[in-house]
Subunit: 373 residues, 3 copies
């Protein structure tokens, strides 16, 4: 309809521009808050193009492919008739939650020949910091402790989780998260920064953190306001705006990113807290924004203070305005997503390089994953 | 997105898995209740992928393809300007209801050269038991009395008709209707069976009825409750549940199915009535659930009692819960509908065999059906 | 699904049936009312398959492709940070409204190497008669005065503009506009003609107007009512219906059509006014009905009278019933739009011939339209 569109720079990356579009499989992903998974109430969640059914049985969480091999009706419509099992609503096929093996087809009697001869895929599940994580890979799961930020696992971590689904591919959402320059324009109108001075532009470099797990931005030079030829001075601050504490803390690695799709932003200053953000692949054109906002506090009084601060100020201004600005920009990008890079996009390029070079890939296929025993 | 999906067993059937997907053409189908087709008010209905316009003129019902050959505007937007004819709203092309021949193009004057040179396809129509039936076939229509259950045509039959459209292919809806095992699981939670004991499983065979028109299920053995190894006893009944009268009547052919897509369930016991259910093809991914619930009664008092019973108990519990469970299961099946059969699916296999072996097929094509005279 | 469908007659025209489907590019088109384009408030509008951003800056209107070349986020989400420029909301890329050249990438500082090296396409814009017009062509724009009806440009013209989007290709909407016969059937039920006698059929010829810009219908013979063999007399008038003044004026060219998609209907009699109607291509399956209803009046009293008449009688009966009948017919045509012509369709054939023979075509491609300077 329009003239020949520029191809996206993404296409130049073999893995990142190709297979990675549907998500990196060999990782742990946050699926749903632990408290929302109630005993014996199957729940359906989609991630990486797959529908999972999650079940809590005797305290433990399980995840299986959400379809009965008989007629492909979702198991999440079913029920927990027997401890440790899920039963399909349609004909009573009953699967072992741990192994996925069909233990009985109730409506065919105890001697049904199909028992033991069908199976649904199961996914390893762990719960940490109030969240259910599932391993989506084909290979043996990595230890979850190696994959989650260690500060999130500390006993004094108080995490508030938020999940929202939005239009857009997970890679564009991840790029937006780690992208430096958009903060200086897109979020300038946010009430979140009403009292802060956001610099006009920075000179930035991307480094690896010492533990080699994160890439982080480091500001070499910061320009609060500048004179643009033919245009004038930009930006103009209001008297009530303070020089941002983000700026002061800029030599700390306040913004960093790691595989598979996790952003970490350390909020500077007294009362510091950390914003973790997974950009979860749901399906090719949809991602789930999974946010954990964490502070490390002991004592009921400090916990209450953090709870209050989060449910009021942070909830309203950070979540409901700041993060929504990001979602709107990502949703407005066309699917083909042509692009033309400028200097600050070194942060996006570094992220792409990280996925291309270091992301675990699925092992070569040997056998179909849904098979009779 | 996911791993290679199993192909549906349906694909193994040449006709049932292929051409039959859009519906069997050489049959009579229920289209709309007679009372809803008012004089000179054209009505649009879709079945077997075709849009029909239905018109009542001087008491008789007619059905034609719902498109004017001139610019393809639906004739159902038109009006009855002359007895026995329908006139297109757009340019006044006027078609004979009985033959479909273009009798005049009003806006081109009485001497319009196009008159008599265009035609729309007409469909034979009959009305029985308060329902308008249309013959969708290419061949000469079969006598409608041979195709409708004779008990539905009895003068003392009091039929209540219900029509609902839902997502899903008509074949999966038909299979669900005749399928034995799902009753024992899917409907167990329905208030309709609150006071009945549904058996755990049956040993069943499929027979032909004596008139050779229906296939029917016959229970050889019934197991009210059983012990499943490693799981326990299932189901557990409540003290208020009686052994179902369905069970008692099980050697009668209470559930039977015939071409093109008609299920019959004889409700057992005193006050017996019969549930007829057509699974009407609308288009590939949509079917219409056409239900006639019939009792044979004489005298105003008995009729009133049946009316009351239907509008209260049956309406609420059978239609609005029981039948909706079926619809939800059918709608939840993926379009590709892979499957893995178990023993009770002999009823589905018998139905597929019936269609494959006995369904009338359209005659070989000789001429286009819409042609100049 | 149904039998082999007739191919549309449109397919027989090489240009009209092909490339023209998305709209004729080398023309001026009405985009939005001038008063709706407020200072420094970017507005998004789609036409001919392209999204434009419109901006008013220091009184002048500008139009550009609505996407920033950086990450393809719409510029209409942006703001006017500097006079004569638009700034992308995402990273502050700032484009000159007149040339489309990237003047600065704010978040990369004044010395950003990308400045001057990217460009978005701009569209010539003119405002006339209270409407913003954009030139959508690749070639040098024609003088807008040559393309708009001169009577619309007269200083005493009082135009009321109305825009509505509807389903359908712009060519079918244009054909419907100029089509003669549908008036005699489709609009017969409109309250707009409650007091008029619409003829049954006319003998018509299509002529070119003296200025060679319009094709117009001329009635050679008019038949108010006629006797149709086998059907009877049609139409039957009511005693309160007068012989339409349209009829009396029939030798004037009351209905005419010109490129790219503009219909003109001169309303006859005392108090005459003119209905202009553009059938704007939005995208392949959507058009925008852009209506200007114009009367030429001086003096506040006559202007008030015209305003009152338009906002009451014309608004209700012409716009909200008469024009909606056209929209419903166009929306009801299937996308494939097979057709079978009859005599009155000479008006449609003449319109197709006009586009095929006289519509300006884009110049041969030489260079990509979005390029670095």
């Amino acid at each position: 309809m329009a003239e020949g569109q520029a191809r996206s720079g993404i296409d130049r990356w073999e893995f990142y521009g190709g297979e990675a579009a549907d998500g990196l499989t060999e990782y742990w992903y946050p699926v749903m808050p632990s408290r929302a998974l109630k005993r014996n109430k199957p729940v359906r969640r989609k991630l990486l193009g797959r529908n999972l059914v999650l079940v809590r049985d005797q305290g433990r969480a399980y995840a299986l492919d959400d379809r009965c091999p008989h007629r492909e009706v979702p198991l999440s419509m079913g029920s927990c008739e027997f401890a440790g099992h899920i039963t399909c609503v349609y004909h009573g096929w009953t699967f072992d939650l741990a192994s996925g093996v069909l233990k009985a087809a109730l409506t065919d009697g105890p001697n049904s020949p199909i028992a033991g001869k069908a199976k649904v895929r199961t996914y390893p599940v762990e719960e940490r910091a109030g969240m259910v994580f599932a391993w989506m890979g084909e290979a043996k799961p990595a230890p979850i402790e190696d994959e989650l930020p260690e500060e999130l696992l500390r006993p004094d971590a108080r995490a508030y989780w938020l999940m929202r689904e939005s239009k857009g591919n997970w890679r564009y959402a991840s790029e937006n998260g780690f992208d430096e320059a958009h903060n200086k324009m897109l979020h300038r109108s946010s009430p979140w920064v009403l009292f802060r001075r956001i610099p006009a532009w920075n000179e930035t470099e991307i480094i690896k953190t010492e533990d080699r797990k994160w890439i982080a931005r480091r500001q070499r030079e910061m320009h609060m306001s500048d004179q643009y030829p033919g245009l004038g001075r930009w930006p103009r601050f209001n008297f009530w705006q303070r020089r941002s504490r983000t700026v002061l803390a800029s030599n700390a690695h306040t913004v960093s990113m790691r595989l598979p799709c996790l952003l970490r932003v350390i909020q500077p200053g007294r009362g510091t807290w950390t914003h973790f953000n997974w950009y979860m692949p749901v399906q090719r054109d949809t991602y789930r924004d999974v946010v954990a906002q964490v502070r490390w506090v002991n004592g009921w009084w400090r916990r209450l203070a953090w709870w209050l601060r989060h449910k009021t100020y942070i909830w309203v201004f950070h979540r409901h305005h700041f993060l929504t600005q990001d979602m709107a920009a990502i949703a407005a990008m066309p699917d083909t997503h042509p692009e033309r890079f400028f200097r600050p996009d070194i942060s996006i390029a570094a992220w792409r390089r990280l996925v291309e070079d270091e992301a675990r890939r699925p092992p070569p296929r040997t056998a179909p994953s849904v098979a009779a025993e």
